[in-house]
Amino acid sequence: MSSTVQPRGTTKIALTAHSWLVYLFFFAPIFVLIVFSFSDDRNVGRWGGFTLEWYQDFVEHSQLQGAVWVSVRVALLSTVISVVLGTLAALALERFKFKGRKVFDALLYLPIIIPDVTMAVMMLLFFAEFFEILDSVFGWDVQKGLGSIAISHIAFNISFVSVVVRARLAGMSEVLEEAALDLYASRWKTFRYVTFPQIVPGVAGGALLALTLSLDDVVITQFAAGPGATTLPVFVFGLIRRGVTPLINATSVLMLAASVFLVALSLAFQQFSGRGGRPSLRAARQAMSAKPNTNTQPKEGINQ
């Protein structure tokens, strides 16, 4: 995909220098963060010799550990649910025409556009009132907690997932799906063997985006949280109040490592599904042959 005209001479040097500067700008802070997470001095920014003490602190800090688990559980739960709902929404909007589609389309973008604080206050009021109603009408005494955080994350993640999946769907011809349907594949079989394999990279990308957003979010989480449900970023913000120590660096490095791992995983996954590339034709045939017993239509139907 490279350009046919290669820059030469000073242009090339200038462009190279420019890229290095950009990389420096991006990565220097991360580098500093990592280096000082190994510093044996309480003050960030003063090197006190190498130590792994802060990582040990991280492991032994029971509140931090608790926060990590809350974060992981919320992230997994909200990702799984929002991927399913977001993909369904994307399919509905891309593949079907129905009344109110445009309204739904616009509404779906809302969580992406509105500021975090607004969303956070909305969630806060919603849960406060909703739980009050549950209590007064049904006598259910529900408390905010892990569940309410997960719900608020699902609320914004659905939009992000569906945007990513729709981008994939939009670039995909409907011909294959029509062919499969023509060949008497059921709607479900068409989805399972034709549509889904093609949108998998989009779904995976959306899932990773959702996972990352859920792990990172502070504002909305704080407002939707309840007793016993402090996530890692919220706890780290609280810690910073008492001064930044390399413990925060160590925590950040581990969070960073987790994010890099997730991104690498998604790249590897896309690479993998890319190799199987253009699976659709094969898949369409597979869809047909995979269910000889269920499809007992008269032969002439196929040739129409």
């Binding site: 003050n43 509140q63 739980f131 704080q222 016993g228 913000f237 810690l239």
Partner: protein, 367 residues
């Protein structure tokens, strides 16, 4: 089509009914004093507190002694905590708001009045913490920890003989010598407040003329500053980047102890006066276990637990009975003249609409 509309209408009606039902409930439990006995528990305790403000082990010992489980979550500012608790159904039984925020919470009926009969250990609170401006009769809040805002200096640079005055920062005749090695807090109320104190005004002044004077004073000191910084003011001082630092007593003191020679540094409230902040315990209006919360407050006000609290977070205790149980260096620090001169301290109060003017003034002063 008609049927659809009917369902829509029904839906709207149902929604209205539910909201009305929910709103009707809100007025019910505000204002009433919880009916609790001393050491009574009525469920598990959910605490909403600042991070690193109490030892987990101390919570565990409460939990074991009273047979209830204790959960603690943390917030990073009064402003983040307030809306969450005020909205209702927060699930928390005990919160730890700062002084000015207590006034806001009382006005909003977000906290419930305390049943003082269930907290006999209130008697242990030092006389300096009675008749507080934000909750004069102590009906809603009990002091938790406190501290002051003043100046910390590096005596290796200033010697032992320097004026205990805000002039160290604001008077060119004294401060110019240390130009570039001074830091001010990055906080509108604290920093404008310091200037107001130096000028001889109240730090809660709502006089525009006085505010302008203070703003100009901070602006004139700008050239001598290394930074406007809150989070690292203590570190800048001990790493040698500054020699005069505006900061909080607790932060400064713990930072001094991190160095090889703590006696090299000195913290004091200038003679013109400074800020006293007090964090307090209070119970949200809709707490699920108000009696357990009362019991916890009473328990934390014992001499033993009060000392344990301060010995862990290293802030000052308002608990007079606990003072003797504090670590020796903490006792020494707190009894140093100038560290806590109660008579010249003032709490920051919520000035309502005037808060914006403080923020604007600070932005103007920072240039």
């Amino acid at each position: 089509m008609k049927q659809k509309r009917l369902f829509g209408l029904l839906g709207v009606l149902l929604a209205f009914a539910l909201v009305a039902a929910a709103c009707g409930d809100d007025d019910g439990d505000g204002g009433a004093i919880a009916d609790c006995e001393v050491n009574e528990t009525d469920g598990n305790l959910n605490i909403y507190n600042w991070a690193e403000y109490i030892d987990e082990e101390q919570l565990t010992s409460f939990s074991e002694q009273f047979g209830v489980s204790v959960t603690m979550d943390v917030y990073d500012s009064n402003e983040a905590m307030q809306p969450i608790v005020a909205a209702g159904n927060s699930g928390y039984d005990l919160i730890v708001p700062s002084d000015y925020m207590v006034a806001i919470l009382i006005a909003g009926e977000t906290v419930q009045p305390l049943n003082k009969d269930a907290i006999p250990n209130i008697a242990n609170i030092s006389g300096d913490f009675r008749n507080l401006i934000y909750d004069p009769a102590g009906d809603y809040s009990v002091p938790y920890q406190w501290g002051t805002t003043g100046i910390a200096v590096d005596t290796a640079a200033l010697g032992a003989d320097f004026p205990r005055s805000w002039g160290l920062i604001f008077d060119p005749a004294i401060a110019d010598e240390h130009s570039g090695s001074i830091s001010l807090l990055n906080d509108p109320r604290e920093t404008i407040g310091a200037a107001l104190k130096y000028l001889g005004y109240s730090l809660n002044s709502t006089d525009e003329g006085e505010l302008q004077e203070a703003t100009d004073l901070v602006a004139s000191a700008r050239g001598r500053l290394a930074a406007f910084n809150t989070d690292s003011a203590d570190e800048f001082l001990t790493t040698g980047e500054t020699v005069i630092a505006h900061g909080y007593s607790g932060d400064m003191f713990t930072q001094f102890l991190e160095t090889d020679d703590p006696s090299r540094y000195e913290y004091f409230v200038p003679d013109e006066g400074g800020t006293r902040w007090i964090d307090n315990m209070a119970i949200p209006f809709d707490a699920g276990s108000p009696c357990t919360a009362h019991t916890f407050i009473n328990w934390l006000l014992t001499a033993e637990q009060g000392a344990a609290l301060s010995n862990w977070n290293y802030y000052s205790t308002p608990n007079a009975a606990a003072f003797g149980g504090l670590d020796e260096d903490l006792q020494d620090f707190l009894s140093t003249p100038g560290v806590a001169p109660v008579e010249i301290l003032e709490e920051i109060q919520d000035t309502g609409d005037f808060e914006v003017k403080f923020s604007d003034a600070f932005i103007e002063a920072k240039g």
